[in-house]
Each structure stands twice: as structure tokens, then as C-alpha cells.
Symmetry: C2
Subunit: 338 residues, 2 copies
Amino acid sequence: MVWDSFPEIRRELDRVRTELLREVSRPGGRISEGLGDLLTRDSKLLRPAFTILAARIQNGGQAADEHIIKIAAAIEMLHAASLIHDDIIDRADKRRGGEALHVRYGDRTAVLMGDYLFAKCFSLISKYAKPESSVLISATVGHLIESEVSEYVRGPEDGWSVRSYLHRIIGKTAVLFSLSFHLGVIEASPGRADPLLVEILRRTGYNVGVGFQIVDDVLDIFGEAEITGKPSGTDLKQGVMTLPVILAAKNGRRLELSRVLNRVSRSGARRISLLKLWENRTLDEARLRIEDGGGKHGALAAAELYTRRAHRELKRLPETEERGILQAVTTQLLSRVS
Amino acid sequence: MVWDSFPEIRRELDRVRTELLREVSRPGGRISEGLGDLLTRDSKLLRPAFTILAARIQNGGQAADEHIIKIAAAIEMLHAASLIHDDIIDRADKRRGGEALHVRYGDRTAVLMGDYLFAKCFSLISKYAKPESSVLISATVGHLIESEVSEYVRGPEDGWSVRSYLHRIIGKTAVLFSLSFHLGVIEASPGRADPLLVEILRRTGYNVGVGFQIVDDVLDIFGEAEITGKPSGTDLKQGVMTLPVILAAKNGRRLELSRVLNRVSRSGARRISLLKLWENRTLDEARLRIEDGGGKHGALAAAELYTRRAHRELKRLPETEERGILQAVTTQLLSRVS
């Protein structure tokens, strides 16, 4: 657990988890059971942690008050809601080391579970946050889902550029990371939030988010299922083009990847297994080729670049304990790949 | 169409529809196709109409400016999103005289379509509305979905009281009607909205909403499918307890309804066809019994009562064209049952 070395933050996150469980216990029945299960599975709770850290940076290192904990919980609910619906849409079977909710409870109940978390997020925000935060969350939800829809609608031929990849992961991850920091500053400020602090932390969140998602995508190919909580190679099997594959394809004909990619593109299929198209290679063969083509190395270098950018932003802040924690944790997130 | 006699409002609603279609055309592909289809089907557009009428009452009868049209479109998006997800959850096959979206496009795509409309609603609100409206919408979405979840989680034995029925339809319909009026006033006010006008129109919306939903539930049993756009008897078949059944059950043992209801209650099933339990009666037989037991008459009387309450609220306003339109349209909504 990334927070193990930071007991103060861990304690705050325990409060967030308690809040989450209290909120999802209210409807009762299968809804509470399933959501309670998902929310107690192993998870880094990065987004609420960022909100709490941002609030502490704003207020000079004080422990989060009850209202910050509620905002942090709302952010995690938004994230969890989108995971639940994503898993239905992507037919993903596993999540956080357990069954995806739609597998255990069926699509119908899982739709409602996701909607419930969306709704609870908005209830909490409308009750406890400043109106400014409501506006921000609304805009972010718009962004998150639009990005998902555009990924869904576009054919795979659009997925082959680094540019379109970055666009996708920004919409999916970086925007919410950025929001998590932003809300922490707004909600911990007595009056108007300091625009410079907001700018620095938003940029930090954005860059950490991009770096984090790249590492996640590398782990999807090269990670062990026990660590990631998801079976390996899911993206490859579903034809989701991530940075390691895109970079390897660019790097050499020897890889035959380009030929495969052209075939995908011509087929017009929306989701197609790269492994199948790639002359039925096994996952291990695919891994070797992507690694040989420099895809793994290149992607990790990109993740490092974005993390360095985040650190450059953080260095603009005074040297506080929270700044140190953010530097340490974001470095640790980078080194998840062995 | 209820707006046929009010060409000015119809013109405004045409603008809303244009805005809706423009927004859903953006992703392209099946998402745009399905949403475009749903949003061009026959619908009364009551919620956006109420927003527009409330804005006109606030601003002295001027035509809605572009920003009111966007808010009105956002409200309709929220409504349509919840219909799409409801139809997945309830396994409803028909909607607005056509196939439900999940029937034509599958659950996965329909989940995304609903999410897209939710997201677009929030984007529009965050871009064009006052922060106050964001907060209100967030709270209302919370309310809407919590009410749906509680209906889903509770067993049918909770559905037998008039009280719990009213509670359900308030969460499902009245709250959003009330919001539609409220947003119109807020958004058309140059500064802070007049609290008295807000109160009057919120109450109007609330009472119109309750009356409207009761009539809808009567139509589900007694209406013709061509008019309602849904097959008749859906609620009865799905074991959703609505006012006509509840009242008929209270009114007489002769109906044997109480016995059936006890059986439902003991069975502990969440959703069970009343027709089946009711010794396999046909829909026509059930209709006759409910009518004999005074269920239809009683429910319509209740709908009238709520509509009268709405009219009492409206009479507190100065006599304007908009007030007249609201009185006429809400009376017309009441008389949908032949």
C-alpha cells in the first residue's frame, strides 16, 4: 500500500473509507452488499488522498475536517461509479482483485449501483461543497464520459497515434486527478482559493495522472495479475491501443506490428484482439515483441517524463511535509513495474 | 400534443429539440443514432416547457434567450437519461412508442447512452447555469436515483400503502417537475430569484408532478398502448403497486385483492406479476375488478385534487398569459384518461 509510510494520511483515508461505507450501507439489500464489497477491496484511494493532501497544503498541514473527508469520499464515489459502468460496457470480469459487480449481480443491478454512486457523489457535493465545486465536478463528469463515448464510437484506426492515446488517458484519468487536487484547495480555502496554488496543484494532478495511466497500461501487458487485480493482457485482447504497443509499432517493421495494425484498421472492427490478428501469438510472444520493439521502455520513459513534470510543479511550492509525501508517492507509483 | 394551442411555447420547444439533437449528434455512430431516435419520438417535453414558462413568468413574458433554452435542454437530458437506465433496470421493451434503446442496441451501449446524457446535462449546466442551479441539479439527481434504489431494494410488501406510493412518485416525478420550474425562475432572474415566486412555482411543479404521475399510472392499466406508447398493464405484470390497485385493494374484500396482496407479501419476491398471482386473470378481468373496486375512480380523484392544489398556487400569481397556459395544460394532462 502506497500510504504505508505515511500513517497520518492513512488515518485520513480510513476516515474516507468509513464515510464511503456509511453512505453505501443506506439503501440496504444487494445494492449495499455489492458496493460495500467493491469499496473495501484493496485500492490505493489516490484521488481522495490527493484531495486531502491539497487541503493540507492549503491549510498549513492541519488534519482534514469532516467536510474535506466528505468531499474526498465524493471524488472516490465518482471514480468507483465510472469503474462499475466501464466494466459493464467493456465486459471486464475482474476489478480490484475480485469479480466485477456486473458479473456477480447482473447488468441491471450494476447499472443502478453505478447510478447510485454518481447520485451520492452529487448529493454530498451539493450538501457540503462550495457551489464552485459543484460546477467543477459537473464539468469533469461531462469530460470523463464524453471521452469514454468518443473512445467507444471511434474505430481502432484512430487509436494508433501517440496523440490520440494521450487524449484518451487525459480524459479518462488526468482530468479527475487534476480535479481531486483542485477541490482540496477550494474547499480548504476560507475565501477564494489562491489561483497560483490551484494552478500548481492542477498541473501536478494532470501530469501525475498521465504518468499513472501510462504505467497502468504497461502493467496491463507486463504486470502480474496478482498485483494488478486484473488478468494480464486485457487491453491487447480487447484491441485497446496503449502506449507500449503504439511505440513498438512505430519502432520497427521487424515487429510486423504495422502490418497487423493495418489489418485491424482495414477490418473496421471496433474491438478486435491484437493477439488473434497477430497470427495468434500468445501473450508471452506478444510481450517479447513489444519489449523488443522498445514499447515497454519507451512507455516507461514517457511516464517518467510526466512524473518529472509533476515534480517540477511541486518544487514551486514551499517545502512542506505534504510536498514530500506527494513526491515520494508519485515516484513510488512509477516504480510499480518490475 | 398538449402544446398545439400555444404556438409560442411550441416554437420554444422546437428550439429545445434542436439543441438536444445538436448535442447528441456530436459523438456520432450508434450513440448519436440511438439518442437522436429517442429524442425525436413523440414526447410532451413537459419539463423543458415548465422551465421556459417559469422563465417567462419571471421576465414578464419575453421569449426565452439562448441560455434558458440550454437549461431547458439539460433538464430534458436528465429525464431522458433516467428513462434509458430505468428501461434497462426494469426490462421495459417499449418507450415513447418505439423500442427501448437497450432492446435495439444492447445493455452496454444503452448504459453509455444514459451516462452520456447525464454528462451532457451536467456540462451544459456547469457552462451556462448559475452555480446555484448546479447545486440544485446535483441534489435532485441524488434524490431521483435514491428513490429508484429504495424502490428496487424494498420488497413489494412496502408498496401497499398510499403513503409509500406517494413517496415513490414524488421522488420519481414531482421532484424533477418542481426543479424544472425552479431553474426557470433562477436563470431568468438578473440577481437573486424572488423567494415567493420560487415557492409558488416549486409547489406548482410538485403538485402537477404528483397528479401527472397518478394519471400515468392509471393509463398504464386502462390506457390504450397507441396513446401511451407502452404496452398496457406493464405495472401489473411487473408487480409495481400503483394507486388504482392500492385503492381497489383497500375498498373491498369482494375483490379478493387483499388476499392476493398477502400472498405477494409472504412470497417475498421483489417483482411478481399481479395477474399471475391473481389466479391468472387476464388484463381485462383485472381492469374490471380494479374499476369495480373504485381504484380507477379513486386514483383520478386524487390526481384531480393535486391538480387543483397546483391551480390554487398558480392563482397566487398575477394573471398572465403564462399562468393561463399552465392552467390549461395541467387540466389537459388530467383528462388524458377517457
